[in-house]
Amino acid sequence: MTVQEPTRNRTVLVLLDPATEVRSSALELLTIARSLGRAEAVALEAPTVEVLAQLGAYGVETVHQAELPPSYTGDARHLPVVVGAALAAAVRRTDADVVLAPATFAAKEASALAAQRLGAGLIIDAAGVREDAEGRIVGVKRVFAGAWDTESRVTTDLAVLTVRSNAVVPEPAPAAVATEVEGFAVEVDAPAPTVVSRTPKDRTSGRPSLEEAAIVVAGGRGTNGDFGPVEELADALGAAVGASRDAVFEGWFDQYIGQTGVTIAPRLYVGAGISGAPHHRGGMQASQVIVAVNNDPEAPIFEICDFAVVGDLAEVLPQAAAKIRAHRGE
């Protein structure tokens, strides 16, 4: 998707949760927002200086920061009921036309709750967003394990969408702007669960996160529990590491790709020792280039590959990694 000039004077709100780190998914949403109208952000906490600088570079003049009731200012601020209430209040305040959120489970729920309150049309996990000839918002989706493309048009004035990572290449605004933070009051009137404890995940492993990476190397049951070769190739490529559900259930890795795990659409996916079950394919088939290494010449994953090696991953991956490091002159 290329960034187009908007034809209408829309206000587009982008959910920024958390507001304490710059994520490529947020930059992609801001890029899409600018193709539809004026981009503004909604946060549940004070953005950090770094985040504010990025927002300025992406053309955001206003961040709407929710002022929550005291019982929701702690860990509970990330609950979908709270985020949903904040999004709805932000739309009312700004009279926004479009809400864009990332494709995390929490953001999907929050977006749905906001759309429910506001009577808005909802599209979950668009792989592209555009406007049609009448100025209606259209979401493009990849469905049925990437086998079909659908286009859905929002028929209400307000459109709420969650958008998958890698839908666009993030592009800063032609000119940076100064970003102001404006507080706004949010009431939470729906029943919320109590957050007994919340332990944030460590996202500082040195590798890009699976959700957002441009290159992903994934290992399955065929690794036999040794993710060393998978990690070696990932590091040579600057890629994120992923797994099949079976590998995660075995305790060999902590995050899996697929319909019930993380859905990815990177530039390059490399699957090693993964058979390519429909559940797994549903989470990666939208990848631009698909490569597989499997010692079974009949492995179903070969049906959806661009390039594949029939062989033992423990031999193939380290050799590939060495060649790539040599190519890079390391």
């Binding site: 669960p193 919340r198 944030p200 050799q319």
Partner: protein, 267 residues
């Protein structure tokens, strides 16, 4: 303890899934109970099985689906796993419902069950494998005015309080709320049971209760195509990928892989 488990009838993930006139084709021959709803049924049955004898005796697990008559297949599977009742909400006006239409029908059916006696818990799957929305549980909770505890990988119900552990994209969380509540369970929560012979036989004679929108006081114009806030304007199969370049590893497979990536400027 009364528990309602919303279950969906979806095209089988291993079958050739397709659209016709921008609608998902739901052939009885190629449909099944959404696999992820088996985790919900399992979770509900375990909650009841963990109760003291006297409470267990007065408990009820109801499987509920919003679907055309084909949805009975999903309810039959639920009976085989051990639920006590099966309810299907069917109405021509429901065709083409979006998330909100489906949620409105589900909520109305839960309210009708509530008129017979308290519904303590609603347990859903984490996603329907056809649309992969993962939003109906939160919407249903909002519609019923109950807290939503979603994507649980561990579930406990004790002294009228529901507690779950879950992995979100950003954190590991423990959440709790007093019943009544809405719970959705992840596929990591449990391993669904295989139906035994006795339950399979018993499932054959169980009656399915069929309700229409009129039975539920839901206005036809608020659901289905009439009430939908989005419309699918096109659905097309993606072109097949070009033929795969398959290399047999005879000692140079890794190098060939690296060369493919370099050639395609992926390195």
């Amino acid at each position: 303890m009364r528990i309602v488990v919303p279950v969906k009838y979806v095209p089988d993930i291993n079958a050739e899934r397709r659209f016709e006139d921008c609608r998902v084709v739901r052939d009885a021959a190629e449909g099944s109970l959404n696999e992820l709803d088996e985790n919900a049924l399992e979770a509900a049955l375990r909650v009841v099985e963990a109760l003291p004898d006297d409470e267990r005796g007065s408990s009820e697990v109801v499987a509920l689906t919003v679907a055309p008559a084909d949805g009975d297949l999903a309810l039959r599977k639920a009976f085989q796993m051990g639920v006590d009742r099966g309810v299907r909400v069917t109405d021509d006006a429901l065709a083409g419902s979006d998330y909100f239409g489906t949620t409105a029908a589900l909520a109305a059916a839960v309210r009708r069950l509530e008129a017979e006696g308290t519904v303590d818990l609603v347990v859903t799957g984490m996603a329907a494998l056809d649309g992969l929305g993962s939003v109906v549980p939160a919407l249903l909770a909002a519609e019923l005015g109950r807290p939503a505890l979603t994507l649980a990988k561990k579930v406990t119900v004790e002294a009228g309080t529901l507690t779950i552990t879950r992995e979100t994209d950003d954190a590991t969380e423990e959440l709790s709320a007093p019943l009544p509540a809405v719970l959705s369970v992840a596929d990591t929560a449990n391993t669904p049971r295989f139906p035994n012979f006795k339950l399979i036989m018993a499932a054959r004679t169980k009656q399915i209760e069929a309700w229409s929108l009129a039975d539920l006081d839901v206005e036809a114009a608020s659901v289905g195509t009439a009430g939908a806030r989005t419309e699918t304007t096109s659905a097309s199969p993606r072109p097949p990928r070009p033929e795969v370049e398959l290399v047999q590893d005879k000692g140079e497979g890794g190098t060939a892989l690296a060369e493919f990536l370099i050639r395609n400027e992926l390195v």
